[in-house]
Protein backbone atom coordinates (compact mmCIF):
# COMPACT_ATOMS: atom_id res chain seq x y z
CA UNK A 1 0.00 0.00 0.00
CA UNK A 2 1.21 3.54 -0.63
CA UNK A 3 0.38 7.14 0.16
CA UNK A 4 -0.96 9.68 -2.28
CA UNK A 5 -1.91 13.33 -1.88
CA UNK A 6 -5.55 14.23 -1.32
CA UNK A 7 -6.81 17.81 -1.55
CA UNK A 8 -9.87 18.89 0.40
CA UNK A 9 -12.02 20.84 -2.05
CA UNK A 10 -13.74 22.75 0.77
CA UNK A 11 -10.45 23.97 2.25
CA UNK A 12 -8.63 24.61 -1.05
CA UNK A 13 -11.55 26.39 -2.74
CA UNK A 14 -11.59 29.00 0.02
CA UNK A 15 -8.13 30.12 -1.13
CA UNK A 16 -7.46 28.65 -4.61
CA UNK A 17 -3.93 30.00 -4.80
CA UNK A 18 -2.67 27.43 -7.37
CA UNK A 19 0.73 27.27 -5.69
CA UNK A 20 0.93 23.51 -5.15
CA UNK A 21 0.49 22.94 -8.89
CA UNK A 22 3.71 24.84 -9.54
CA UNK A 23 5.78 22.80 -7.06
CA UNK A 24 4.67 19.22 -7.69
CA UNK A 25 7.64 17.54 -9.40
CA UNK A 26 5.35 15.40 -11.56
CA UNK A 27 3.73 16.82 -14.70
CA UNK A 28 -0.06 16.76 -15.22
CA UNK A 29 -0.59 15.61 -11.63
CA UNK A 30 -1.99 18.46 -9.54
CA UNK A 31 -4.63 19.83 -11.84
CA UNK A 32 -6.95 22.74 -11.40
CA UNK A 33 -10.68 23.01 -12.00
CA UNK A 34 -12.78 26.18 -12.00
CA UNK A 35 -15.84 23.99 -11.40
CA UNK A 36 -14.88 22.18 -8.20
CA UNK A 37 -16.63 23.64 -5.15
CA UNK A 38 -19.19 25.65 -7.16
CA UNK A 39 -21.96 23.38 -5.84
CA UNK A 40 -20.92 24.37 -2.32
CA UNK A 41 -20.94 28.09 -3.08
CA UNK A 42 -17.21 28.59 -3.68
CA UNK A 43 -16.46 30.83 -6.66
CA UNK A 44 -12.90 30.17 -7.73
CA UNK A 45 -12.46 26.41 -8.09
CA UNK A 46 -10.01 24.00 -6.50
CA UNK A 47 -6.88 21.96 -7.12
CA UNK A 48 -7.15 18.17 -7.29
CA UNK A 49 -4.73 15.27 -7.75
CA UNK A 50 -4.60 12.76 -10.61
CA UNK A 51 -3.72 9.95 -8.21
CA UNK A 52 -2.47 7.58 -10.88
CA UNK A 53 0.42 10.03 -11.48
CA UNK A 54 1.16 10.96 -7.85
CA UNK A 55 4.44 9.53 -6.47
CA UNK A 56 3.59 10.39 -2.87
CA UNK A 57 6.48 12.77 -2.13
CA UNK A 58 4.32 15.17 -0.04
CA UNK A 59 6.02 18.29 -1.39
CA UNK A 60 2.57 19.70 -2.11
CA UNK A 61 1.65 19.25 1.56
CA UNK A 62 4.69 21.31 2.54
CA UNK A 63 3.79 24.01 0.00
CA UNK A 64 0.14 24.26 1.08
CA UNK A 65 1.02 24.25 4.82
CA UNK A 66 4.06 26.55 4.70
CA UNK A 67 3.64 28.80 1.67
CA UNK A 68 -0.13 28.99 1.18
CA UNK A 69 -0.75 28.43 4.93
CA UNK A 70 -3.99 26.69 4.02
CA UNK A 71 -3.51 23.06 5.19
CA UNK A 72 -5.73 21.64 2.43
CA UNK A 73 -3.59 18.60 1.47
CA UNK A 74 -3.16 15.35 3.38
CA UNK A 75 -1.33 12.14 2.50
CA UNK A 76 -3.74 9.19 2.48
CA UNK A 77 -3.35 5.49 1.74
CA UNK A 78 -4.53 4.90 -1.82
CA UNK A 79 -7.20 2.42 -0.70
CA UNK A 80 -8.57 4.86 1.90
CA UNK A 81 -9.31 7.70 -0.51
CA UNK A 82 -12.97 8.59 -0.47
CA UNK A 83 -12.96 10.00 -3.99
CA UNK A 84 -10.18 10.80 -6.40
CA UNK A 85 -9.39 11.80 -9.98
CA UNK A 86 -7.68 9.53 -12.47
CA UNK A 87 -6.09 10.74 -15.71
CA UNK A 88 -8.70 8.91 -17.77
CA UNK A 89 -11.48 10.94 -16.11
CA UNK A 90 -9.94 14.35 -16.70
CA UNK A 91 -11.20 16.56 -19.50
CA UNK A 92 -9.27 19.59 -20.67
CA UNK A 93 -11.12 22.77 -21.62
CA UNK A 94 -9.98 26.11 -23.01
CA UNK A 95 -8.80 27.58 -19.72
CA UNK A 96 -9.37 24.92 -17.07
CA UNK A 97 -9.99 21.21 -16.59
CA UNK A 98 -12.90 19.19 -15.26
CA UNK A 99 -12.63 15.88 -13.47
CA UNK A 100 -15.07 13.22 -12.38
CA UNK A 101 -14.05 12.32 -8.84
CA UNK A 102 -14.83 8.69 -8.12
CA UNK A 103 -13.76 6.01 -5.67
CA UNK A 104 -10.47 4.67 -7.10
CA UNK A 105 -11.24 1.22 -5.66
CA UNK A 106 -14.48 0.93 -7.64
CA UNK A 107 -12.70 0.97 -11.01
Amino acid sequence: MYLVADISVEICAAKSCKLCTQYCPEANTIQYSDELGKDKGFKYGSAYVAVDRCKGCAQCVWVCDNMAKNYAIKMIMIDQLPKAALTENITYGEKSTTAVLASPAAG
Binding site: K18, T21, Q22, Y23, C24, P25, E26, A27, N28, I30, Q31, Y32, A47, R53, K55, G56, C57, A58, Q59, V61, W62, V63, N66, T87, E88, Y92, G93, K95, S96, T97
Partner: protein, 300 residues
Protein backbone atom coordinates in the same frame (compact mmCIF):
# COMPACT_ATOMS: atom_id res chain seq x y z
CA UNK B 1 9.89 20.12 -36.36
CA UNK B 2 6.91 22.33 -36.73
CA UNK B 3 3.30 22.34 -35.64
CA UNK B 4 2.74 19.49 -38.12
CA UNK B 5 4.49 16.97 -35.95
CA UNK B 6 1.92 17.41 -33.21
CA UNK B 7 -1.09 16.82 -35.43
CA UNK B 8 -2.89 13.50 -35.94
CA UNK B 9 -2.22 11.61 -39.12
CA UNK B 10 -5.42 11.31 -41.11
CA UNK B 11 -7.70 8.61 -39.71
CA UNK B 12 -5.52 7.86 -36.69
CA UNK B 13 -7.07 10.21 -34.15
CA UNK B 14 -9.41 7.66 -32.64
CA UNK B 15 -6.64 5.12 -32.13
CA UNK B 16 -4.34 7.43 -30.20
CA UNK B 17 -4.14 7.18 -26.39
CA UNK B 18 -5.94 9.82 -24.34
CA UNK B 19 -2.68 11.42 -23.18
CA UNK B 20 -1.65 11.96 -26.80
CA UNK B 21 -5.01 13.38 -27.81
CA UNK B 22 -4.97 15.74 -24.83
CA UNK B 23 -1.50 16.89 -25.81
CA UNK B 24 -2.45 17.61 -29.42
CA UNK B 25 -5.67 19.40 -28.50
CA UNK B 26 -4.75 21.05 -25.19
CA UNK B 27 -0.96 21.09 -25.10
CA UNK B 28 1.28 24.15 -25.34
CA UNK B 29 2.11 23.85 -29.03
CA UNK B 30 1.57 27.00 -31.03
CA UNK B 31 0.38 28.90 -27.93
CA UNK B 32 2.20 30.80 -25.28
CA UNK B 33 1.72 29.01 -21.97
CA UNK B 34 3.06 30.27 -18.66
CA UNK B 35 3.83 28.89 -15.22
CA UNK B 36 0.74 30.64 -13.83
CA UNK B 37 -1.45 28.50 -16.13
CA UNK B 38 -0.02 25.24 -14.78
CA UNK B 39 -2.69 22.68 -13.91
CA UNK B 40 -4.94 23.96 -16.68
CA UNK B 41 -3.27 22.64 -19.83
CA UNK B 42 -1.71 19.33 -20.87
CA UNK B 43 2.03 19.42 -20.33
CA UNK B 44 4.39 17.81 -22.82
CA UNK B 45 6.22 15.87 -20.12
CA UNK B 46 4.79 12.41 -19.46
CA UNK B 47 5.36 9.82 -16.72
CA UNK B 48 8.98 8.78 -16.13
CA UNK B 49 11.07 6.79 -13.65
CA UNK B 50 12.86 9.62 -11.76
CA UNK B 51 12.58 9.37 -7.96
CA UNK B 52 9.60 10.70 -6.02
CA UNK B 53 10.14 14.28 -4.90
CA UNK B 54 13.25 14.88 -7.03
CA UNK B 55 13.90 18.61 -7.46
CA UNK B 56 15.54 17.89 -10.82
CA UNK B 57 12.21 16.54 -12.04
CA UNK B 58 10.46 19.73 -10.98
CA UNK B 59 13.09 21.83 -12.73
CA UNK B 60 12.74 19.83 -15.98
CA UNK B 61 8.96 20.18 -15.78
CA UNK B 62 9.25 23.97 -15.38
CA UNK B 63 11.89 24.25 -18.11
CA UNK B 64 9.65 22.55 -20.65
CA UNK B 65 6.83 24.96 -19.85
CA UNK B 66 9.23 27.87 -20.26
CA UNK B 67 10.57 26.95 -23.72
CA UNK B 68 9.44 29.83 -25.95
CA UNK B 69 8.60 27.52 -28.91
CA UNK B 70 8.34 23.90 -27.76
CA UNK B 71 7.31 22.78 -31.26
CA UNK B 72 10.62 24.10 -32.62
CA UNK B 73 12.88 22.85 -29.84
CA UNK B 74 15.21 19.86 -29.59
CA UNK B 75 16.69 18.80 -26.26
CA UNK B 76 20.08 17.13 -25.97
CA UNK B 77 21.07 15.10 -22.93
CA UNK B 78 23.47 12.47 -21.73
CA UNK B 79 23.90 9.75 -19.10
CA UNK B 80 22.57 10.79 -15.71
CA UNK B 81 19.20 11.03 -14.00
CA UNK B 82 17.73 13.93 -15.99
CA UNK B 83 17.54 12.06 -19.31
CA UNK B 84 15.06 9.63 -17.72
CA UNK B 85 12.47 12.43 -17.76
CA UNK B 86 13.73 14.67 -20.58
CA UNK B 87 13.33 11.74 -22.98
CA UNK B 88 9.67 11.22 -21.94
CA UNK B 89 8.34 14.42 -23.45
CA UNK B 90 6.77 15.39 -26.76
CA UNK B 91 9.92 17.29 -27.65
CA UNK B 92 12.55 15.52 -29.79
CA UNK B 93 15.43 14.38 -27.60
CA UNK B 94 18.94 13.47 -28.69
CA UNK B 95 21.00 11.33 -26.36
CA UNK B 96 24.72 11.92 -26.61
CA UNK B 97 27.29 9.54 -25.14
CA UNK B 98 28.28 10.53 -21.63
CA UNK B 99 29.97 13.90 -21.95
CA UNK B 100 29.36 14.34 -25.69
CA UNK B 101 26.29 16.50 -25.34
CA UNK B 102 27.78 19.91 -26.18
CA UNK B 103 29.62 18.47 -29.19
CA UNK B 104 26.42 16.84 -30.44
CA UNK B 105 24.48 20.05 -29.83
CA UNK B 106 27.07 22.08 -31.76
CA UNK B 107 26.62 19.96 -34.87
CA UNK B 108 22.86 19.84 -34.45
CA UNK B 109 22.45 23.57 -34.06
CA UNK B 110 24.67 24.28 -37.08
CA UNK B 111 22.84 21.67 -39.16
CA UNK B 112 19.44 23.12 -38.27
CA UNK B 113 20.62 26.57 -39.33
CA UNK B 114 21.77 25.22 -42.70
CA UNK B 115 18.51 23.38 -43.20
CA UNK B 116 16.02 25.96 -41.92
CA UNK B 117 17.87 29.24 -42.45
CA UNK B 118 16.60 32.04 -40.28
CA UNK B 119 13.62 30.16 -38.87
CA UNK B 120 14.60 29.61 -35.25
CA UNK B 121 15.03 26.02 -34.07
CA UNK B 122 16.12 26.01 -30.45
CA UNK B 123 18.66 23.51 -29.13
CA UNK B 124 18.76 23.07 -25.36
CA UNK B 125 21.27 20.84 -23.58
CA UNK B 126 20.31 19.57 -20.12
CA UNK B 127 22.91 17.44 -18.36
CA UNK B 128 24.06 16.70 -14.84
CA UNK B 129 26.96 18.35 -13.02
CA UNK B 130 29.12 15.28 -13.71
CA UNK B 131 28.18 15.32 -17.39
CA UNK B 132 28.81 19.05 -17.70
CA UNK B 133 31.71 19.92 -15.39
CA UNK B 134 33.65 16.62 -15.35
CA UNK B 135 33.22 14.21 -18.24
CA UNK B 136 31.88 16.76 -20.73
CA UNK B 137 34.04 19.65 -19.52
CA UNK B 138 36.25 19.94 -22.57
CA UNK B 139 33.37 19.88 -25.06
CA UNK B 140 31.32 22.28 -22.96
CA UNK B 141 34.11 24.86 -22.74
CA UNK B 142 35.03 24.58 -26.39
CA UNK B 143 31.42 25.03 -27.48
CA UNK B 144 31.36 28.23 -25.43
CA UNK B 145 34.67 29.50 -26.80
CA UNK B 146 33.29 28.87 -30.30
CA UNK B 147 30.15 30.83 -29.34
CA UNK B 148 27.89 28.00 -30.48
CA UNK B 149 24.33 29.26 -30.44
CA UNK B 150 22.50 26.95 -28.08
CA UNK B 151 21.64 26.82 -24.37
CA UNK B 152 23.51 24.66 -21.84
CA UNK B 153 21.70 23.87 -18.60
CA UNK B 154 23.55 22.18 -15.77
CA UNK B 155 21.24 20.13 -13.51
CA UNK B 156 23.48 20.51 -10.48
CA UNK B 157 22.65 18.01 -7.75
CA UNK B 158 26.27 18.20 -6.54
CA UNK B 159 26.78 14.44 -6.96
CA UNK B 160 26.68 11.59 -9.48
CA UNK B 161 23.11 10.62 -8.61
CA UNK B 162 22.46 8.03 -11.27
CA UNK B 163 25.41 5.83 -10.30
CA UNK B 164 24.98 5.96 -6.55
CA UNK B 165 26.89 8.85 -5.04
CA UNK B 166 30.36 9.65 -6.40
CA UNK B 167 31.69 13.18 -5.91
CA UNK B 168 31.73 15.50 -8.90
CA UNK B 169 33.67 18.70 -9.51
CA UNK B 170 30.51 20.53 -8.38
CA UNK B 171 30.30 18.73 -5.00
CA UNK B 172 31.17 21.01 -2.09
CA UNK B 173 34.43 20.58 -0.23
CA UNK B 174 34.00 18.33 2.77
CA UNK B 175 30.78 16.66 1.55
CA UNK B 176 30.68 13.00 2.59
CA UNK B 177 29.07 10.76 0.00
CA UNK B 178 28.71 6.99 -0.30
CA UNK B 179 31.65 6.84 -2.64
CA UNK B 180 33.55 9.78 -1.12
CA UNK B 181 33.55 8.46 2.46
CA UNK B 182 36.36 10.70 3.69
CA UNK B 183 34.76 13.84 2.35
CA UNK B 184 35.60 15.72 -0.83
CA UNK B 185 39.01 17.36 -0.64
CA UNK B 186 38.60 20.11 -3.26
CA UNK B 187 36.42 23.17 -3.76
CA UNK B 188 33.25 23.27 -5.86
CA UNK B 189 34.21 24.33 -9.40
CA UNK B 190 33.32 27.87 -10.43
CA UNK B 191 31.61 27.09 -13.72
CA UNK B 192 29.87 30.46 -13.75
CA UNK B 193 33.14 32.32 -13.92
CA UNK B 194 34.40 29.92 -16.59
CA UNK B 195 31.26 30.53 -18.65
CA UNK B 196 31.90 34.27 -18.53
CA UNK B 197 35.60 33.91 -19.39
CA UNK B 198 34.66 31.64 -22.30
CA UNK B 199 32.37 34.36 -23.64
CA UNK B 200 28.82 33.18 -22.87
CA UNK B 201 26.27 35.91 -23.61
CA UNK B 202 24.03 34.93 -20.72
CA UNK B 203 24.89 33.18 -17.45
CA UNK B 204 22.40 32.62 -14.63
CA UNK B 205 21.97 30.61 -11.45
CA UNK B 206 18.56 29.48 -10.34
CA UNK B 207 16.82 27.23 -7.82
CA UNK B 208 13.44 25.63 -8.57
CA UNK B 209 11.74 26.97 -5.44
CA UNK B 210 10.98 30.04 -7.54
CA UNK B 211 9.07 28.71 -10.58
CA UNK B 212 8.54 32.11 -12.20
CA UNK B 213 12.22 32.88 -12.04
CA UNK B 214 13.04 29.52 -13.64
CA UNK B 215 10.61 30.42 -16.40
CA UNK B 216 12.14 33.83 -16.90
CA UNK B 217 15.79 32.71 -17.09
CA UNK B 218 15.03 29.83 -19.46
CA UNK B 219 13.13 32.10 -21.85
CA UNK B 220 15.92 34.66 -21.92
CA UNK B 221 18.64 32.03 -22.33
CA UNK B 222 16.88 30.30 -25.24
CA UNK B 223 16.05 33.55 -27.03
CA UNK B 224 19.60 34.91 -26.69
CA UNK B 225 21.06 31.64 -28.00
CA UNK B 226 19.06 32.02 -31.22
CA UNK B 227 21.29 34.79 -32.47
CA UNK B 228 23.77 36.19 -30.00
CA UNK B 229 25.78 33.24 -28.68
CA UNK B 230 26.14 30.54 -26.04
CA UNK B 231 24.00 30.75 -22.92
CA UNK B 232 24.45 28.90 -19.62
CA UNK B 233 22.08 28.22 -16.75
CA UNK B 234 23.28 26.50 -13.61
CA UNK B 235 20.34 25.14 -11.61
CA UNK B 236 20.51 23.67 -8.12
CA UNK B 237 18.40 20.51 -8.37
CA UNK B 238 19.02 18.50 -5.21
CA UNK B 239 19.30 14.71 -5.11
CA UNK B 240 17.09 13.71 -2.20
CA UNK B 241 18.43 10.15 -2.33
CA UNK B 242 22.19 10.81 -2.13
CA UNK B 243 21.83 13.72 0.30
CA UNK B 244 19.09 12.03 2.39
CA UNK B 245 16.66 14.94 2.13
CA UNK B 246 13.15 13.86 3.22
CA UNK B 247 10.97 14.41 0.14
CA UNK B 248 8.62 16.79 1.93
CA UNK B 249 11.64 18.95 2.88
CA UNK B 250 13.08 19.32 -0.62
CA UNK B 251 11.82 22.89 -1.02
CA UNK B 252 13.05 23.80 2.47
CA UNK B 253 16.50 22.54 1.43
CA UNK B 254 16.27 24.49 -1.83
CA UNK B 255 15.60 27.69 0.11
CA UNK B 256 18.48 27.02 2.51
CA UNK B 257 20.90 26.31 -0.35
CA UNK B 258 19.67 29.36 -2.24
CA UNK B 259 20.53 31.52 0.77
CA UNK B 260 23.86 29.78 1.23
CA UNK B 261 25.57 29.26 -2.15
CA UNK B 262 22.90 29.54 -4.84
CA UNK B 263 21.68 33.14 -4.70
CA UNK B 264 20.09 34.26 -7.93
CA UNK B 265 22.69 35.79 -10.23
CA UNK B 266 22.30 36.84 -13.83
CA UNK B 267 24.91 38.12 -16.26
CA UNK B 268 23.68 39.45 -19.61
CA UNK B 269 26.15 40.76 -22.18
CA UNK B 270 25.51 44.24 -23.59
CA UNK B 271 24.80 42.76 -27.01
CA UNK B 272 22.28 40.33 -25.50
CA UNK B 273 20.56 43.12 -23.57
CA UNK B 274 20.17 45.16 -26.73
CA UNK B 275 18.89 42.12 -28.64
CA UNK B 276 16.28 41.20 -26.02
CA UNK B 277 15.08 44.80 -25.84
CA UNK B 278 14.89 45.45 -29.56
CA UNK B 279 13.75 42.05 -30.76
CA UNK B 280 11.55 40.80 -27.95
CA UNK B 281 10.46 43.99 -26.18
CA UNK B 282 12.23 43.31 -22.87
CA UNK B 283 12.00 46.54 -20.90
CA UNK B 284 14.18 45.51 -17.98
CA UNK B 285 17.39 46.26 -19.89
CA UNK B 286 16.46 49.74 -21.12
CA UNK B 287 18.85 52.38 -19.85
CA UNK B 288 17.27 54.00 -16.79
CA UNK B 289 16.43 57.69 -17.37
CA UNK B 290 18.74 59.93 -15.39
CA UNK B 291 17.16 61.02 -12.10
CA UNK B 292 15.94 64.64 -12.23
CA UNK B 293 18.32 67.01 -10.50
CA UNK B 294 17.19 67.58 -6.93
CA UNK B 295 15.42 70.90 -6.48
CA UNK B 296 17.51 73.31 -4.55
CA UNK B 297 15.42 74.97 -1.84
CA UNK B 298 15.08 78.70 -2.29
CA UNK B 299 15.88 78.68 -6.02
CA UNK B 300 13.05 78.96 -8.51
Amino acid sequence: MSLDYVKFSNGFEKFMPKEYRDMVEHGPFGKKVTVSQMGNFKEVLEEHPMCAGCAMTLFIRLAMIAFPNPEDTITVGTAGCGRLAISQAAIPFVYGNYGDQNGVASGLSRGLRLRFGDKPKDVVVMAGDGGTADIGFQQVLHSWFRKERFTTIMLDNEVYGNTGGQESGMTNRGAVLKMAPLGKKFEKMDMLQMAKVAGCAYVATVVPNNPRRVESVIKKAVLIAREVGSTYIQAYTSCNIEYAIPTDKVMEDAKAVENDRYQFTEYVSEEAKQYLTERYGYKEFLAKPAAPAAAIPGKA
